[in-house]
């Protein structure tokens, strides 16, 4: 379960940073909020990049299916990217109400997205991809930068 374990850890790390940014917004400390938000945005986008450039193509090649789960996941990545843009604007404008409102949508969207990946997609990857390919995919993902 090396894929599941690695990717789940990244999801949880993003949740923690997201919660920290939200806390700073609630406290009115926008400098720290911005710092944490940038970290969250970078980590999330890097995580998507790892999936889109390495894990998903491996899965698609193996299953011969580019119109299934990976298509839905990529569509949802676009939704999250759109929200990140709006949240960045809110944190820059120090608009806490707008930020917290967007944070609500982001959290539900992201959590149900993660749930699908963890319960199905990663589990399928761990089950179907041969061990050596999994290991090399994992190494490629670890090396991906923004």
């Amino acid at each position: 379960m090396i894929i599941s374990s690695y990717m789940r850890t990244e999801h949880r790390a993003c949740d923690e940073i997201f919660a920290a940014a939200e806390k700073h917004v609630i406290d009115g400390d926008f400098e720290k909020a911005e710092e944490q938000f940038i970290l969250f945005a970078d980590d999330t986008i890097r995580h998507f990049k790892k999936e889109e450039e390495s894990l998903f193509p491996t899965f698609e090649e193996l299953t011969g299916n580019t119109e299934g789960p990976t298509r839905i996941m990529k569509f949802e990545h676009e939704q999250v990217r759109g929200l990140i843009g709006k949240m960045a604007e809110a944190v820059e404008n120090k608009d806490s109400d707008a930020y917290l409102s967007l944070a609500e949508s982001m959290m539900i969207l992201l959590q149900q997205h993660n749930m699908k990946e963890e319960q199905m997609l990663y589990a399928m990857c761990d089950r179907m991809i041969p061990q050596d390919v999994k290991e090399s995919t994992l190494e490629t993902m670890k090396a991906i930068e923004l």
């Binding site: 919660a19 939200e22 789960p69 409102s101």
Partner: protein, 426 residues
């Protein structure tokens, strides 16, 4: 292949499916409040029996079943990866029959006209059995059940049993069958309805949404894996015990203790949540769990010692408060999210943000109204003063009226965005 779906464009039912159930539930709550007001101010006089069954069923079916079926139509694709085909058409059949059935039952209880019992049994039975069977049929197909999807399946199965028993009771009251097992069936009916349907569905959904909405640690595996099965097994044992005339207090005690354990663990999850927000929905969850613990503590006490009617009434009130608190918490998350989600997925760049649909401050006001309502009903039980009854009834009207107003506001906002703002084609 990707059966563990989620809230994607292809799978989410139209927003109208959910909203019509939620609005109807609030409307039923409002009517219930007016009925209570008319009774407490002496405008309507009924026998204690008619009053009690009317309130119980208006609340259980008109309010709770409407909310919970609406939420299930929405949540089955998200939580269980189950897609109900033609959701608009199927939900409309359930919705219309349920509305008619609830009113027929109300008139049956208050007039005791035989034919009304028959019609309400047929119409309510058709509405609810149609809903449960179509959902169970899809849930059974799920290959890898999560604790939530398994719980949903078991709670819908419990609801089906409660409905069948309910039909038996209505037909007995109408004089269509002899009803030899009336007492046992009545006890089994409300045990399956309250513990097996309402409480179990909340438990099942919480295993996923508490973690998802508030980023909490996971529930202990032993609880998420075995609690729902244990509750259903205990209910089945209770049913057998009732029919072979064995005492059921031991089963009731274990059930109450299991729900207390669940309530404490959920409160602990919420305490350890990573998200710092303490919006109204967090408070509704905390209150709901607190009330579940109170209700079940009194139930447990009642199994080991004799307790007076006042304490029993407080236990019922706490259970109602628990169920309503969770339903309100879910409403204030689901409705703003779905409004934003559907509009932004349709390409409306000016889709209102969640706080623009229902602001958390409005939900917080509802929380205070809800608390005031529960406190005044408790005072009403303790002191039995007509003036307190009137205030408590007014607060029921205000509570559901407040929610109804905000649901209608959300629908208007949705329609306005669709009609008056720019849409981008994906």
């Amino acid at each position: 292949m990707f059966s563990q779906g989620g809230l994607s464009l292809e799978q989410a039912p139209p927003i109208s499916v959910v909203m019509k159930f939620f609005i109807t539930a609030s409307l039923f709550g409002l009517i219930l409040g007016l009925y209570l007001l008319a009774s407490s101010s002496g405008l309507l006089t009924y026998s204690a029996y008619a009053y009690n069954v009317t309130i119980t069923h208006f609340l259980a079916l008109g309010v709770m079943a409407s909310f919970m079926l609406g939420a299930l139509f929405q949540m089955l694709p998200v939580i269980a990866g189950v897609v109900i085909k033609m959701p608009s058409k199927k939900s409309m059949v359930v919705h219309v029959l349920l509305m008619v059935g609830v009113f027929l039952q109300l008139f049956a209880f208050n007039t005791s006209i035989s034919l009304l019992y028959l019609f309400s049994a047929i119409i309510l039975g058709s509405a609810l059995l149609h809903a449960t069977t179509l959902m169970i049929k899809e849930l059974i197909k799920v290959q890898d059940h999560s604790s939530s999807s398994k719980g949903m399946l078991l709670s819908l199965s419990s609801f089906t049993i409660a409905i069948v028993f309910g039909i038996y009771l209505l037909l007995t009251l109408g004089g269509y069958i002899s009803g030899d097992a009336f007492t046992q069936v009545k006890e089994a009916h409300y045990s399956f309805a309250l513990f097996g349907w309402v409480a179990l569905l909340i438990v099942s959904v919480s295993f996923q949404v508490v973690e998802m909405f508030y980023v909490t640690p996971k529930y202990p595996t032993i609880m998420s894996k075995y609690l729902v099965t244990a509750i259903v097994m205990l209910l089945v044992l209770k049913l057998i015990a009732l029919f072979i005339s064995l005492p059921t207090v031991g089963i009731d005690l274990i059930l109450a203790l299991l729900f207390i354990a669940y309530g404490i663990i959920t409160l602990h999850r919420l305490y350890r949540r990573k998200r710092p927000t303490s919006d109204a929905t967090v408070w509704f969850w905390r209150l709901g769990m607190g009330l579940l613990i109170v209700s079940m503590f009194i139930t447990a006490l009642g199994t080991v010692t004799s307790i007076d009617q006042g304490l029993k009434s407080i236990s019922y009130l706490a259970f109602i408060g628990f169920a309503l608190s969770i339903v309100f918490a879910m409403n204030y998350k689901i409705v703003p999210f779905l409004t934003w989600f559907h509009l932004s997925n349709q390409g409306y760049m000016e889709a209102p943000m969640m706080h623009d649909v229902i602001h958390p401050k409005k939900a917080k006001i509802h929380f205070y109204i809800h608390i005031a309502m529960l406190v005044t009903w408790t005072l009403s039980i303790l002191f039995n003063l007509p003036m307190i009854d009137i205030v408590a009834s007014l607060l029921v009207v205000l509570s559901f009226g407040w929610l109804l107003y905000h649901l209608i506001f959300a629908v208007r906002k949705y329609n306005y965005t669709q009609k008056h703002t720019e849409k981008i084609e994906w």
